[in-house]
Symmetry: C2
Amino acid sequence: MLNNLMHNEPPALPGRGFIRLRIDLSYDGTMFAGWASQPKLRAVQSEVEKALQIAFHLKNPVNTIVGGRTDAGVHARGQVIHADVPESVLKEDFGKIKYSLNGLLDADVRILDIANSPYGFDARFAAIARTYSYSFSNGAPDPLYRNFVVPAWRKLDVEAMNKASEKLLGLNDFTAFCKRTQYGTSIRTLNQFDWRHTDFGVMATLEADAFCYSMVRSIVGCLLPVGEGRRDIDYPKQVLDSEVRHDDIVTMPAHGLVLEKISYAADDELMARQEITRARRENTEVEN
Amino acid sequence: MLNNLMHNEPPALPGRGFIRLRIDLSYDGTMFAGWASQPKLRAVQSEVEKALQIAFHLKNPVNTIVGGRTDAGVHARGQVIHADVPESVLKEDFGKIKYSLNGLLDADVRILDIANSPYGFDARFAAIARTYSYSFSNGAPDPLYRNFVVPAWRKLDVEAMNKASEKLLGLNDFTAFCKRTQYGTSIRTLNQFDWRHTDFGVMATLEADAFCYSMVRSIVGCLLPVGEGRRDIDYPKQVLDSEVRHDDIVTMPAHGLVLEKISYAADDELMARQEITRARRENTEVEN
């Protein structure tokens, strides 16, 4: 706890007289400069915090803590945040509050759920895994999907991409796919990485405990030439094993990326999980 | 032919020294006032005609004839048009022309194909069938899909919708689902009408020789309460059989509708098909 204060970190528990709300939301990132508030730019965070302030009739802005900080243009289908608000402001049921928030927000942000959170919940530090998807077209792109599907002009070989992706699973040093490593380790556990056909093309799904900056976009950029038949199935694993950043790997555009899900520890393990993540963070900046 | 001139109709064949191009295209209708050019409004037709004029270095605008005229907000994945241009302007291969056109057009319109058309081809009058899709969400809507998926807040029973839809197939008088009938008959042949789960919810596919104005949007508006369990499976057929326009059937929003495909007669039957459609049109305004 002392460390948290030293690092100016958000508190592990809400203050006296406050309750911690868990809010699940989705957004189309096209018209946003990302999750995080920035001066003069439209960010999801500032829009949501403003809506919370109005919905709860508060004098001061509501601070939110986000589970998966998304970049400009990145979308979210299962973003999770928390906000500590005075107990006294909860005068309506959560269904009505959700309805109010969605009325206040523009159509590109939707509150999916708002509820009291269990003891020890923290949207960022109690998370155990993040799931992202990345979508390519499978041949000529469809203009209806252009804000969330990246054009792949040739038909992609999903089977080859799956074989190549499987080799990256497990606990690995992902330095080769991490843009910035100055903050510490790039060692991550990749639990899931597969490709499937969707109605709009071909979609990768990746789940890991955490991702370093641009990791998903670099990994899919490494797999794309495998799908196109320009690289063989062993190529991504060779890149991974090199453990150096490869300049010939294209970091794919932000708009193909969707934060699908954030997984949390079981209710009775939330506080323990927070402490583990916060302790680890003294040495490592966990980028999502 | 005389009739065509009397009605100021587009010619059945290109004039001497002209060739007829078939152009396949797709568009996101969100930011358009529909296909047809209108003063001061952004329409797909005027954007495409302007691009054709520039790409072919023509002094005069290129007139296009459309296979399926779409309303404001309606999308197209398989729109077909034709344009008669002087043979002399074709100085590049069609691949390069397509590339130029896509460079000239905004990202919400994409030329899929441009080619010489067979003798007797006419985008409108040689068509034998149109296929439309209509998409609902299946529960809470996803903001990424909000421009082409209409929210359905309850889970939809696709099996019930399929059973009800099947009863509407065949040659029927669709007066009950046609907004304007002053132009003549509402008798149409519905070849296909089914529902399936997609990655963005639930999608209806309808194929008919032609559709009268707002017909697809009215039919799906009649099927929605069946999917929600508010109406039974026989309801849509009862509405059809009544053969009068029903005011309690909601015409669903334009943005869920996509023109998927236009089917044409075989190459050696194009001219005969044109004559049939044009003759029929003396009595009937065929609305697509």
